[in-house]
Structures are given as structure tokens and as C-alpha cells.
Symmetry: C2
Subunit: 320 residues, 2 copies
Amino acid sequence: MSIDTAALLQGNRRALAKAITLTESKLDSHRQQAQELLESLLPHTGNSIRIGITGIPGVGKSTFIEAFGLYLIKQGKKVAVLAVDPSSPITGGSILGDKTRMEVLSQQNNAFIRPSPSGGTLGGVAQKTRESMLLCEAAGYDVILVETVGVGQSEYEVASMVDFFLVLMLPNAGDELQGIKKGILELADAIVVNKADGAARLMAEQTRQHYSNALSILQHSAFWQPRVLLCSALENHNIDTIWAMIEEYRHKAQDAGVFAHKRNRQNQEWMWRLVHELIDRRLKHDPHARSVCDAMQNKVIAAQTTPYIAAHRIVESLKG
Amino acid sequence: MSIDTAALLQGNRRALAKAITLTESKLDSHRQQAQELLESLLPHTGNSIRIGITGIPGVGKSTFIEAFGLYLIKQGKKVAVLAVDPSSPITGGSILGDKTRMEVLSQQNNAFIRPSPSGGTLGGVAQKTRESMLLCEAAGYDVILVETVGVGQSEYEVASMVDFFLVLMLPNAGDELQGIKKGILELADAIVVNKADGAARLMAEQTRQHYSNALSILQHSAFWQPRVLLCSALENHNIDTIWAMIEEYRHKAQDAGVFAHKRNRQNQEWMWRLVHELIDRRLKHDPHARSVCDAMQNKVIAAQTTPYIAAHRIVESLKG
């Protein structure tokens, strides 16, 4: 597959889309080519703010991203929207699949919208989204929005690849508490109570108060205390305040010297995850290692050997 | 080190204590000997109920374990008390270190109390506690109580090695909510509100209600809905009810066919954790692999290569 790198660096959306398609390919030769392309583009990456956005279905994620994206474009930004949706690995993801969901945003010259890739290769959907993110940065996008639905580990995956993690909520604490997974509040740099309009305003304020209390008992970094804001994406209310907050976060994180540090940590943790995944793959695909794994697993279940001895034998089988 | 296996199998506590000391040794030759001993004893293991007990300092863990242990001994059981305390890896653990904490229990012929091992070797404190558990079973102990404090990952470690996980709470929901980590409620098979005596009874009942509500929104297995009980270890109140509940759990789990299944799963997950830990050790200790890891980590931080390429190079270095 031939990629016009110069065009990509100049922001050509067709070249960008083609490069992303290359990284998503399952062909070994394409994977190799994609990694070489990414390595060559690395010096041009990193110049964006990466924002993760999650929330249960019905919270208004598309409406929010459309309103937020259009606001950013009016401020002169270039905005890329990516998605991590592990819930439909075959069809390629149900979120962002239909561009008409963000009809106005998708027609902007300075917007780039890409649906969730289908999983399958090493690192899964998250790996591909990380690579797409780098390609968007090389193409000059200032703001990368990574959308996800609250399925499985997807929020953790997204939180571990972005600078700022934003959780959208509905103005109804009672229902919400059941929909939200434990642990998500600990990931949030901010909670935005969307649909705080019309008759729901009072309930939204109560919800805001509720989550402010919940967040205050969790431990946080020295430089940032997570906030809870109200917003109405439909009425374009408070969209500017949310962006101002994220800008404030970026400046505070940079002043505290932790902005780059966090990205380095994310990259290293990601590298080690891939190391473990690669080794597991080898243990599964190498016929000798695989037969040792199967035999050891059976012996452990039959109480014929200890997990400790079994683990040693499995690791020995990697040498061959 | 010479271990009298026949004496251990007959329940000799000195032989048992010596065997545990062997598994805790950091000498390679002792590790080898310990694994051979464990493998030979495996047919005699598994005939106990393994109960994990956690709770914040001040909740009355020792008083509870003493009252519970003495009750079980009166029922004709042999009771072993082990501990997982990763908080003091050098001194050997602060919990159970002082046997006088369970003065009456420790003097019983049918009780065996062993403080937390110090970490250090593969698998850490949890690995050694798992091995001690097997040795206690081989020595004929019917009930293994594994105590832990809520530090780091210790609750998860203990929950992944026992049949039943019990969380002790104080009769004060307000304070408790802040002390308890998110996620612990999801591990609990039962919550016991201790110190439900005297003036605290009403508060204890409110706390019980509070946690019943909290548990009811979490998803559980088909055969068991976690319960919340009141108890006063000091006044020996409801100790019998707690044991009856655990017995009921065991029967229901066995009837549902999941009792042995859970142990098999725990053993397999443990084996795979040891595989990854062994590989990480090799990457750290093998000079060639280590230099590749360091170089790749630096290249990733300097944005000279991608985590994907770096991970591949690191795994390649294992072959040599």
C-alpha cells in the first residue's frame, strides 16, 4: 500500500485515512510497513491534547462531541474524533460507525472522524486507536477526541491513552449510580452532567452535587482536583467552560511537570503490555510451547503438580 | 533441611512449621526441595474450607478470629490461621506477628497460627501463603483462615486463593465508606458488621442495611447472593450464624458444581501470573535481555520508536 507521507504531513485527509487503513490491516507485510511509517512520523507527533470521552448510551455523546468539536473548530483548532468500541469486533464498532450522527461536524474541513476499528491483531482495538492518534497528530490535528462506550475494559483502555478523561453523566443520580462501573470515578479528570436543560436543570444540579461529594473522598493528584460541571450540548450551554477547564488542566499539568511524564508512563506501560501479549501469543502458536502449556494446565487441575513448577516448565519451553 | 513428611501428614505441628519455613526460604536449593515436597503432598491437600478475612485496622480482626477459631475447635475442627501482609516485607508482617494477640486460640492443640511471611521470591507473600495453605491441609487442618489488612492488592490476592471471602466492617457507615476501597464490595461473599454490641447495636443495624443496599446493585453468581450479618466477637454473638452461613455457601457451591471449578480457575490464573513474573525476572536478570529492555524503554521515551516495535525487539531478546 503506498502512503503519501508528505501529503499526510500537510494535513491531507485522504492520505491520513489511507495511513490509518494501513495500520488497521491484518496482513503482516502491512503491519511492518505501518510500523515503519509510524516510526518515521514520530518526530511530528505529540502536539495535541488527547481527550477521552465516555458515558452510557443515551447520555448524548454524539451531540456533545458535535457541539464540542464545532466550538473548537471556531477557535481555529483542527479536531479528530476516534473511537474505541470493543463491543462489536466484527462489524467494526457500533459507535461513530454512522457519520450522519455528527452530520455538521463531519462536513467541516478541519474535522476528521474515524469509526472504531475492528480488533483482531496484537493490542486489539486500543493499539489501533493509539496509532491512529499518532497519525492524526502528524497530520496537524490539535485536539484528539477518543470516544468510548462503557463496555468491558474500554474506559481503562481509553484513560490510559489520553491526557484528560471526561465522563458524561445524565441528570439523574439514582439511575446513574447503577449504570456506572465502580472505578470509573477514579479515572475521571472531570464529570460533565449533560442534558442539564429545561425541566432537568434542578435534577442536574442535584446530580452535580452528588458526584462532587463522591469525588471529594477519592484521592487525587496534587495539582488537579476533578470537577463536576453542568452542560447542555443541545443548547450549546457551557461548552466553552469545559474547554477552558481542559486548557487549565493542561497548563497546570505542564507547570507541575507531569504532562509529558504521564505520556511517557502511558507509553512504557503500553510497551510492557504488548511484551506480555506477544509472549502469550508465542505460547499459544508455537506447537512445542503450546503442548507444554496444555500438559501443565492439565497437571495443575489434576493436582499432579504445583502452579509454581508448571510455570517454570512453561517458561523453559519458550527457549526452544 | 530435613522434613519429616510422615509426621506432617499425621498433623505434627513442628513438622508443619518446619515445612512452611522451607517454603519461605530464599535459597534456590530450598525452593527446589519445597516444590518437590509440595508436589508429593498434593494428593493430601484440598480437604479444607479456605476462608479469607479482611477489614481495616480497629475492626477487631484478631478478636473475631479468636472467637471464630475457638468456636470451630469446639465443633471438632482443626483450624489454621495464616496471614498476608504485604505492608512490612522486611520484618515479616505486622499482623499475626504477635501470637499473644490470639492468646487463647494459640494455646489450643487443634489450632495452628502462622504470621505473614516476608516477601522477596517469586510470587511474593501470596505465593508463600498459598503453599502454607497446602501444607496445613496435608497436616489435616479443616478450616484455613487467611487474614489480611487492606493494603495495596492484598485483598485481591487473598480473594483469589480462598473459597469464601469475608469482609469485616465497623458499625459506622459514614466512616467506613471512606476507609473501604472501591472494588472490595465486589469481592465479598459476606460482610460482617463486628462490634454490634452495647450502644452500637442500632448503628450496626443501620450499617447492615446500608451495605445490604450497596450489595444488591452489584451482580452476583446464580447460586449465592452475598449477605450482611451483625456480630459481636467480644460477646461471642452470632459466631455460630456466620459458620452456618459459610457451610451453607459450601453446600450450595458444591451442588451448583462450582466449588472445585473455582479452585481450578484460581490455580490456573495463578500459574499464568507466575509465568509472566518469571519472564519479567528473566528480562531483568539476563544481561542481554536487560540491555535490550533499557535501550527500548529509552527509545520509546525519546519518541524514536513505537511501543509496538520496542515490544517486538524485547521479546526477540528472550530467544538468545
